[in-house]
């Protein structure tokens, strides 16, 4: 089996992270923005696992589980918040959630 170098993983991870960050900034639907954050977290997980493999150590693998658990907790809270927004305003467009401008 050909060996995939570490840098490929890191470049892929950086691309995914940048895509997530761009999605966060440019997307208008709350759900898509939230998914962009999840993409960023998974990009980080890829880095953790790649580094861990490179260093021949197990802790990076474990960290990626930590990240997954926390991301799941965050998703539970985040979706609940999004639900209350939808219930009270009937919209999920981020531009319309702006009752507190100067």
């Amino acid at each position: 089996m050909p060996h995939v170098p570490l840098s490929w993983y890191l470049i892929l991870s950086a691309i995914l992270f940048a895509l997530g960050a761009a999605g966060f900034v440019y997307r208008k639907s709350v759900i898509t923005v939230f998914m962009s954050i999840e993409l960023m977290l998974n990009a980080v997980n890829l880095s953790f696992v790649a580094f861990s493999y490179q260093l021949h150590r197990i802790d990076g693998h474990i960290y990626s589980f930590f990240v997954m658990v926390v991301a799941a907790a965050e998703a539970a809270v985040g979706l609940a918040i999004i639900l209350t927004i939808f219930k009270n305003r009937g919209t999920l467009q981020i531009d319309e959630v702006d009752s507190m401008k100067l």
């Binding site: 966060f24 977290l41 990009a43 980080v44 880095s47 918040i81 009752s99 100067l102």
Partner: protein, 487 residues
């Protein structure tokens, strides 16, 4: 770091405050489930206060057995004990604030107090974290509970919006923080703060890449402590959330995030000092200027305090830019006095706001001096402390921060900081003018005297501010001796 990974009794002792708070949080939720529908749920707030008091004692007990615990995951030292104590006091004051507020809004539940305790658990973890993974876990425990608190009144549109913005930008920041942690792990092969320092000291890895990773971590923290250009969420969140929650968010999570920001940068990234110091310098400058000038334009008191909290974060960053032990001690003193004065100010505002927070404009404070002279005088103390008038904690906070900056030859930053403090006086004085020199309006018509719990919170904060302003020596010497641990 021995081969023995089984925790010893001493590990649990050093982790006791967090254990106590978690247990009390769970007990509060169980008690609520067992309560009859007609029961007074405010008593659960009393349980929370008791839990915080026990945790405070546990903190003192843990402090008498300093050292690392759980294979170097956390470390109990003077610095950690100081910030644990601070966030516990903040938690207690916010419980006292919330009791009457939640009664007024008819949403008294146990889950509010449970979430508050869980958030404080996260902040305690942050105060003592000695490993980047614990930093991440602590930050998330604190943040996830705070997201819910920010949107606690779930039928209120402003609360919804506040929670959404806090949640989205908070998670975005977490992703940056984690990416930085991943790179530090890859570069140094460790997430332990002291080991990272050892590896960086040897100079084996590229300082440019390590500097970039440090910058990613800084971005993550900068969001949490609302540093320009990552501050956009702060005014909206503080304006939209319930007043006691705004008070909590602007004091507890901020102090804990600053605590760990200082620990990470002064312990792990000290060898990269030359790279990050200008980043911090620039952010401190922008944060002071943007926070103060935006606050000048506000008519809503909560939003104004939101911008002012950005400006205050700038002053604390000046202390980080000083990058010295004096700077750390100054920041510790500053954060303690800032927490007290800000909670006090928010407590008075939540008192005047009335049901559904109808009265949160600066003009709504008009005539408070005539209607409630004592409360007005206490609010004046908080405002003078926020300005930095002598005999208040705010004065010595600023004094020590700028002294530390001058010691590190940051003359320009000090000059600009002082000019900013003068500008800030203008918008703070608008509050003083409103309470003493204007005719009472609609907001004063049905104002009842503050509830006992609220009065205790306001008096305690005011006494704290005055004690820090008249006898700053005790707290400062504590801060100085714990800052000496950072070499």
């Amino acid at each position: 770091m021995s081969g023995n990974y089984l925790p010893q009794a001493i590990d649990y002792l050093r982790f006791l405050p967090e254990i106590v708070l978690s247990v009390f949080g769970i007990v509060i939720m169980l008690l609520e489930a067992l309560m009859r529908a007609s029961a007074r749920r405010a008593s659960l707030g009393g349980v929370a206060l008791f839990g915080l008091a026990v945790a405070f004692l546990a903190n003192l007990w843990a402090a008498s057995n300093p050292g690392a615990a759980f294979s170097g995951m956390i470390v109990v030292d003077g610095y950690g004990t100081f910030f644990r104590g601070l966030v516990l006091v903040v938690g207690a004051l916010c419980v006292l604030n919330s009791l009457s507020y939640l009664d007024r809004e008819k949403s008294q539940t146990g889950e509010f107090y449970a979430l508050l305790l869980f958030s404080v658990v996260g902040q305690c973890v942050l105060a003592t974290a000695a490993d980047l993974i614990m930093v991440f876990i602590g930050l998330e425990i604190s943040s996830i509970a705070s997201y819910i608190l920010a949107g606690y009144l779930r039928d209120d549109r402003r609360n919804n919006e506040s929670a959404l913005k806090y949640f989205l930008l908070g998670s975005f920041a977490t992703a940056f923080l984690l990416y930085g942690i991943a790179w530090i792990y890859g570069l140094t092969g460790s997430t332990n703060l002291a080991q990272i320092r050892t590896v960086l000291d040897q100079g084996a890895s590229s300082t440019l890449v390590a500097g970039l990773a440090a910058a990613l971590l800084f971005v993550g923290f900068a969001f949490k402590v609302s540093v320009v250009p990552f501050q956009i969420w702060a005014p909206d969140v503080y304006q939209g959330a319930a007043s006691p929650v705004s008070a909590f968010l602007s004091a507890g999570p901020k102090a804990a995030a600053f605590a760990i920001l200082f620990r990470v940068f002064m312990v792990s990234f000290r060898p990269l000092n030359a790279r990050w110091i200008w980043l911090v310098w620039g952010c401190a400058l922008l944060t002071m200027i943007v926070g103060n000038f935006a606050a000048l334009l506000q008519t809503n008191v909560k939003r104004m305090l939101g911008y002012s909290s950005i400006a205050h974060a700038g002053y604390v960053l000046v202390a980080l830019a000083a990058s010295s032990q004096i700077g750390i001690a100054a920041a510790m003193f500053y954060l303690a006095s800032y927490a007290l004065m800000n909670i006090g100010a928010f407590a008075v505002i939540s008192y005047i706001a009335a049901r559904n927070e109808r009265f949160v404009k600066i003009d709504d404070l008009a005539g408070l001096g005539r209607r409630e002279p004592v409360t007005a005088a206490l609010l004046a103390i908080f405002v003078f402390s926020l300005i930095g008038v002598p005999l208040t904690g705010g004065f010595f906070g600023k004094f020590y921060v700028f002294q530390a900056a001058l010691n590190s030859h940051l003359v320009w930053l000090t000059v600009i900081g002082l000019i900013n403090s003068a500008i800030a006086a203008y918008y703070y004085l608008k509050i003083i003018v409103a309470i003493y020199m204007k005719e009472p309006g609609e907001s004063m018509e049905h104002l009842a005297p503050p509830a006992l719990s609220l009065r205790i919170a306001i008096w305690a904060s005011a006494l704290g501010v005055l004690i820090l302003g008249i006898f700053p020596g005790t707290l400062l010497s504590m801060a100085t001796s714990s800052a000496a641990l950072f070499r």
